[in-house]
Assembly symmetry: C2
Homo-oligomer: 159 residues x 2
């Protein structure tokens, strides 16, 4: 758990306490190789401490989220996904028909964040976006099967 020392310091400095439960939750997220659901975090922590409560997990995630140590993303799965933010920044394109998830490089969003900062003075949190839409293949299927049914949607979404 020595690798959590910096995090522990960050927590303490903002008036938060370092409890065994929090350490276990922290450790579970850090050592996972990617996104996790709250249930997966629970499961992992339960291996060392069976009495952990869901509300503790969510409350801890709330704290870590507020401190921007962990990102929370709705990937359309009916549950949030949590990830340690220190790993490389990336985003996701999620097809609403076939549910395929692909990666989107952060460079696509840096421009947006810069524009918003310039024009509105607003510093956007863009760590982990999930953007829904239609992948290339599903666009083709929609065009052939739907006829001109959704003529309106055929028009441009963003362009």
């Amino acid at each position: 758990m020595s690798c959590e020392r910096a995090t522990a310091e960050t927590l303490k400095q903002s008036g938060q306490r370092l409890t065994p439960q929090r350490l276990m939750i922290l450790s579970a997220i850090r050592h996972a190789g990617g996104h996790m659901s709250a249930a997966q975090i629970m499961e992992q922590v339960k291996e060392s401490y069976a009495y952990i409560d869901v509300s503790t997990v969510y409350r801890t995630l709330g704290v870590l989220k507020r401190m921007h140590l962990v990102s929370e993303t709705d990937m359309g799965l009916g549950e949030y996904r949590y990830e340690w933010v220190e790993r490389m920044r990336h985003h996701h394109l999620i097809c609403r028909d076939c549910d395929n998830v692909s990666l989107l490089d952060d460079s696509f969003l840096t421009g947006l964040a810069a524009d918003i900062l310039d024009d509105h003075g607003f510093r956007a949190d863009i760590d982990h976006f999930a953007i829904f839409g239609l992948c290339e293949e599903c666009q083709r299927s929609a065009d052939t099967s739907g006829g001109k049914a959704n003529g309106k949607a055929k028009g441009k979404e963003g362009a």
Copy 2:
């Protein structure tokens, strides 16, 4: 209800049915002057039909969402907000400290959607974004109180 005729046509052409419940839900959303929660829609519909069920409201919203007639947005209030999309397209900047909500013109996001379409062939649904971050004033307060500034983001989207 004559103003719903085009919508009715759209629904029918995609194999959906036009039921009284759907008409009432449709009407409630169209005649509201902005975002509504599912509960508010329920309440409104109940004035003319007391037996409407939550699941019917959500299922109908799901259909309308999928057809891009209505947008669904997580504005950080613990419940989704729904809005008729034919009104001018717009997005929101939401400050995570002071909860202030400001408008963001659609032009900021058209470029992003175009870039994604060009490079990934993916047609992003960007009907109604809520972008979280820090407003100008709260950035200043954070800077003076010695905050470290990093971001976490939540991507949520209306289909």
